[in-house]
């Protein structure tokens, strides 16, 4: 039986805002009438550890997690994390990668090395879309909204309209930050 459920993963470093992004996705998919399940990481890993959030939507969704070899879209807020979770992608899956490098403590202390040429390596196997969202967010004068810029880039590869996205953002982010988040989204969505 073919599984038409769409599987999305958002990965990054604890504290980068994966939860906000997945909640926007939850809101948009539910508003569109899909069954949807999200799975998040709270607790210890949020302290700078590797974090992963799953979003699945379709006619009916059973499990809330995405398993190896099944992700349609991988949204990575940090480059090393894109590589860590790439094997979760389907063959034809797409990676949206934010070109930010955050050294894990294992690298800082010299126990391991941060791999070189990650994006090139990933491009050999997958469709990779890269964005330097930190720089763009800084240009906008608000470094925190980089994650919504990344989501905007990812949104180009999903089946929702501009209006649906903006409405989901409006419903999800704190009222004071609606405008800046919408701008950030459009920066990613409509390109530089």
């Amino acid at each position: 039986m073919e599984n038409r459920t769409k599987n999305i993963m958002i990965v990054g470093v604890g504290g980068q805002g994966t939860l906000l992004t997945s909640r926007i996705l939850g809101s948009i998919t539910m508003a569109a009438g899909y069954d949807v399940k999200l799975s998040e990481v709270h607790g210890m890993a949020q302290r700078g550890g590797s974090v992963v959030t799953f979003v699945r939507y379709g006619e009916t969704v059973a499990e809330p997690i995405v398993e190896e070899g099944q992700a349609d879209v991988l949204i990575a807020f940090e480059t090393l994390e894109a590589l860590r979770y790439a094997h979760f992608l389907k063959k034809e899956g797409a990676i949206i990668v934010n070109l930010q490098r955050i050294d894990p403590i294992t690298v800082v202390t010299g126990m391991a090395e941060y791999p070189e040429g990650i994006v090139e390596k990933l491009k050999k196997e997958y469709a990779v879309y890269q964005v330097d969202a930190a720089a763009e967010a800084l240009q906008m004068g608000n470094p925190k909204v980089f994650n919504v810029i990344v989501l905007g880039v990812a949104a180009r590869h999903m089946d929702f309209s501009r209006e649906e996205w903006l409405s989901a953002i409006e419903k999800t982010v704190p009222p004071k930050t609606v405008e800046i988040n919408k701008q950030a989204f459009l920066k990613g969505y409509e390109g530089q």
Binding site: V36, H42, G48, R84, H87
Partner: protein
Amino acid sequence: MSNRSNSSNQSNHREERKIMLGNEAIARGAWEAGVKVSAAYPGTPSTEISENIVKYEEIYAEWSPNEKVAMEVAIGASISGVRAMASMKHVGVNVAADPLYTISYAGVGGGLVLVAADDPGLYSSQNEQDTRCVARAALVPVLEPSDSQEAKDFMKYAFTLSEQYDTPVILRTTTRLSHSQGPVTLEERQEKQDVSYEKNIAKYVMMPGNAKPRHVYVEQRMKALEEDGCSMFLNRMELRDKKIGFIASGIAYQYVREACPKASVLKLGMVHPLPKKLIEEFASQVETLYIFEELEPVFEEQIKSWGISCIGKEIFTRQGEYSANLIRRAVLKEEVQEKVPAAVPARPPILCPGCPHRSVYSVMNKLKLHGAGDIGCYTLGAVPPLGVIDTTICMGASISTLHGMEKARGKDYINDWVAVIGDSTFLHTGVNSLMNMVYNQGTGTVLILDNSTTGMTGHQEHAATGKTLKGEIVPAIDIPGLCRAMGIRHVLEIDAFDTEALEKAFREETARDEVSVIIAQSPCVLIVKEKKKTTRRALRDKCKKCGMCLKPGCPALTRNEDGTIAIDETMCTDCGLCVKLCKFDAIQQIDL
């Protein structure tokens, strides 16, 4: 069975659906069930239950100092005749085990539910224990939902069952369920009439003469639940292809549906006691029966003991979380299309930039002190580069284990040891251990890392923060005063970033032949609300690449390609720790 009328009269309402976290749905279920009292101690993955309950004005909700207290608060509320609940993580149930085992005998006034959150896969815990084992020993029924909708529905029904069968009920959840979101249909709150209190010592005074007949009652109750469970909506036989049948509950049920949508499933919503006749019937209908349960073989061992042939832990692990791929591999023998994960450096959790614990630990590291540790963010001091925590067992154990070492090996043995405990954990169970150290003439040095919050679980208030779960301002318990009241003469309060004072205190207090307490104070960097005005920058021309500043492992510091130091100015909080370590004046303060 005591027969309490359920005065629910559901009013007409328009259907509202909302996407909810499992824990949020549990809170909603409690509200809809008319709960009036909720008590808890924070612990991943249970914390968000209370954080959502507090949004409902009709419910009194509190953070108690520990799970035993929380359980007892809920018990008192239940005896007084209202619906009440306690929520906690799996290891918290151990702390609450004493009242739980006995309230099982006494039964309830208003409905009483304990929400216990297990953590298969150890996302944020010290063990992988299975609450169903506790429930079997305590003779308490357990419900286990498998998505957010059921989390709400089962929570509500748990109160009905509790009153109908005169028993506390455990609602068991797991990390994956608690921290997943799914759609939930909302309903109105059922206002429950409070049960009027009647003095009944045969039921509520559990001395031997009263407990004996209650034990008989408890056995009857569990038998009745076992039989009635066969026809409850909680347990559902889904007959499809009869070649393969699964018995599953909770999130594991979803993995079965994902991997084998055509297979027959007996979905258990009440996981203790098991509906024996229903299981026998299901087993007789399917050719091969698999028991698919995360953690312990609780179903499997019971079902096998009834002479039913089934397959369980022979092919499914007792460790970690399950998945649909596990079934595809172990049952369907499918080649799961899996790529080899890339070899990448691990990214374990770390102390935040500007964390006061890092400052204290850098001093301990310099003095080569060993830490008898405890539960909290500060457990992260066990790993390189700080490496100052030698033991972590459970909440409050730091002080008592250090005391045990001293009694086993003598005073000199612990001269280079300190017990390390956080403020919230100290109030949880550390107080008793400290009392013991004083009483039994220990000489240990206790370090209380007071960051004015319960950090690891996401910043909850506690008795020494001066604020309640509801946000009310209250007098704060005075931690230094509490220590002095035990007769401890050397109680030092030191700024966590004053490394010189800390070094002096460690040297003097560990050498002292009596109990002393060093309280390192500085609020958790994540709760500091003031916007930072300064940050730090490393000067390339002055940096000698010695790496001293990297020693405490601050994530804001990395090396440039030429080996000099770079500071991420957005991460840096200007805590000043690296500045103290730099002998070449190469780290400059800059204004923001």
